[in-house]
Symmetry: C2
């Protein structure tokens, strides 16, 4: 109990995201979407791992997030997503996007019902994402309650190069939705598998 | 970013709960409700603080939890709770209960809608708690996604000695509810203000 360190009980639910000398992804771009970018790095590679990635003086930041229970989908939406989705790590999915996001305090002050209304009834977050399955594999990581970065979520997407246009379309739809009015910091990191 | 330690960005949202030599509460009892108890301690006092409480070799455990956004209440329930509640730290509220709880994996696999249905429609968690306000002040802390203890929540209650019977009644109602069928570990720590 007392000797357990943070995250020790999470197993593969806790993921780290960082520039890393021996990362399995090559960094294509790091672009601020809303608010400041992440500090620039001399490293050319990037890791998503369940153990702390090796970092150097040139790699001055690390993001962390936990996969967790669903928050907004109904039973039907959850089942439809599960049936249509494919997992991470597919050989053909050689592109990835790591997009850390923060939502403003006004979002977190809303009730569940108000957040669900904006998320799905107004923004069609799940409905708009469904047509992009299984091409775009997606994993959400929560970090708001970890309190060690400026972000609430780290979103991770993997897709094949031929689905890159579809991915841009999906991201544009999400960013144009009412839900995104509550996003006050977002950085878009694009990656290519080594 | 990189130099931020876990919890540094949480401020007063992160709370620690532990036996502590100079704690502001005296331990009255530590009783397992479901599953194993916490390790026994030679310390007689207890702290709830926003900084790590002093511990000794005799105090071998520490719980940690984060206050967070609401998950299950509707707008109306939230507003009714806020209107009826009083805060922690009232001079007359010299009794406290610290009750760490874990819910089984089956609970976390349910959709939001299924969890809300069990929480309120079947168990009347909020409706049953309302009559005990403002006598019983309550604060929920989340720790499932911190991964450093065996618990998902640390619940904290404060009340005056004359409301102790009402508190037992509330706790008994909650434990008899369908929601509690999903609780697979619970320890009940009772405290008295020094």
């Amino acid at each position: 109990m007392a000797s357990m360190k943070l995250g020790e009980g999470l197993g593969a639910r806790l993921n780290f995201f960082a520039p890393s000398p021996d990362g399995e992804w090559r960094i294509l771009s790091v672009n601020p979407v809303t608010g400041p970018s992440l500090p620039s790095t001399d490293l050319t590679h990037f890791s998503r791992t369940t153990v702390t990635p090796p970092t150097t003086a040139e790699s001055s930041w690390i993001l962390r997030g936990v996969t967790s229970n669903t928050r907004y989908v109904t039973n039907e939406e959850r089942d439809a997503l599960n049936a249509a989705s494919e997992g991470l790590g597919r050989p053909q999915a050689t592109r990835a996007a790591c997009i850390p996001i923060r939502k403003m305090a006004a979002w977190w002050a809303l009730s569940q019902q108000e957040r669900r209304d904006i998320f799905e009834t107004q923004s069609h977050h799940t409905a708009n994402s469904m047509p992009y399955l299984p091409a775009i594999a997606r994993q959400l990581h929560h970090c708001r309650d970890l309190g060690d970065t400026d972000f609430d979520f780290v979103t991770w997407f993997e897709y094949a190069p031929e689905d890159a246009d579809a991915f841009e379309e999906l991201v544009a739809k999400l960013r144009a939705s009412p839900e995104w009015k509550y996003v006050d910091r977002e950085v878009d990191i694009r990656l290519e598998r080594v």
